[in-house]
Amino acid sequence: MAFDMYLVIFLIFGALCIAGALNLLLQRHPINSALSLIVVMTSLAVLYLLLGAEFLAAAQVIVYSGAIMVLFTFVIMLLNAGEEERTRGSRAAYLVGFPGVAALLGLLTYIFLSVRMPLGNAQLGGGTLVTTSDLSRVLFRDLLLPFEVTSILILVAILGAVALARKEES
């Protein structure tokens, strides 16, 4: 097939991901960064769907672009965060951090592209879709205890957030 639709969709949303991430990096106002992060997360949901993870695509939109980013925008507006002032960052970040990041990216890209053939291809359809019932069968049968433990974790996090953000009684 000359015109590969799957590859085109992957390239569009992959480019959208990278553009959103770069916009997060370059924008100076936190609210612009938050909105571009929503673009990244929603395009990632599309990529999850392409990889046959339908439940995670829905959860990505609801939990990440919905709940977490609303929390972020809420806090940005609550604290009235303005444009960040440009200060000179730490010397260690410039001397070690950025060469380290560039080396990491180059190394990972080189390794992934050199084992491109053994890694194989992602296919659309053909029984590759992991349905919600497949996922829940593992989650509620084999991993029931970790699932319940995470609910306790969330309860503790709620209590901690309330205790931390509460105004001190003076």
């Binding site: 590969d4 639709m5 799957y6 590859l7 992959g14 991901c17 990278i18 991430a21 997060l24 990096l25 936190p30 960064s33 992060l37 990244v40 997360m41 990632l44 999850y48 990889l51 046959g52 993870a53 439940f55 995670l56 990505q60 939990v63 990440y64 709940a67 977490i68 929390l71 972020f72 806090v75 609550l78 604290l79 965060a81 200060t87 960052g89 950025f98 990041v101 560039a102 990216l105 890209t109 992934f112 084992v115 491109r116 890694l119 194989g120 291809n121 992602a122 296919q123 992991v130 497949d134 996922l135 593992v138 974790l153 969330i154 503790v156 996090a157 901690g160 957030a161 931390l164 953000a165």
Partner: protein, 101 residues
């Protein structure tokens, strides 16, 4: 109708590197926190890609737990940011360098 899994992994590596760079460059504590979320998302993409490759559900279960923990972490982290702002009236990480006021 195929895309090499390696492309997904490279995309995830790019997103992770942008997240690390934003973590180093950004001076606003909320944006620093957002770049951590970006790194978590990049790692999630790797998990889903490998789960697809091996036809395993456990990779997606991992992503599910990462999402749950990230939600809890965002709630606590933002509460800490609010507490820091109350105590110091600034969001600049350069000015938050003392443990005691």
């Amino acid at each position: 109708m195929v895309v090499p899994i390696a492309y997904y992994l490279v995309l995830s590596a790019i997103l992770f590197s942008i997240g690390v760079a934003a973590f180093l460059i950004k001076r606003n504590i909320i944006t620093v926190f957002m770049s951590i979320e970006l790194m978590l998302n990049a790692v999630n993409l790797t998990f889903v890609a490998f789960a697809h490759q091996w036809h395993q559900v456990s990779g997606q279960i991992f992503v599910f737990f990462v999402m749950v923990v990230a939600a809890a972490e965002a709630a606590v982290g933002l509460a800490i940011i609010i507490a820091i702002f109350r105590a110091r009236n600034t969001l600049n990480v350069d000015q938050v360098n003392l443990m005691k006021l």
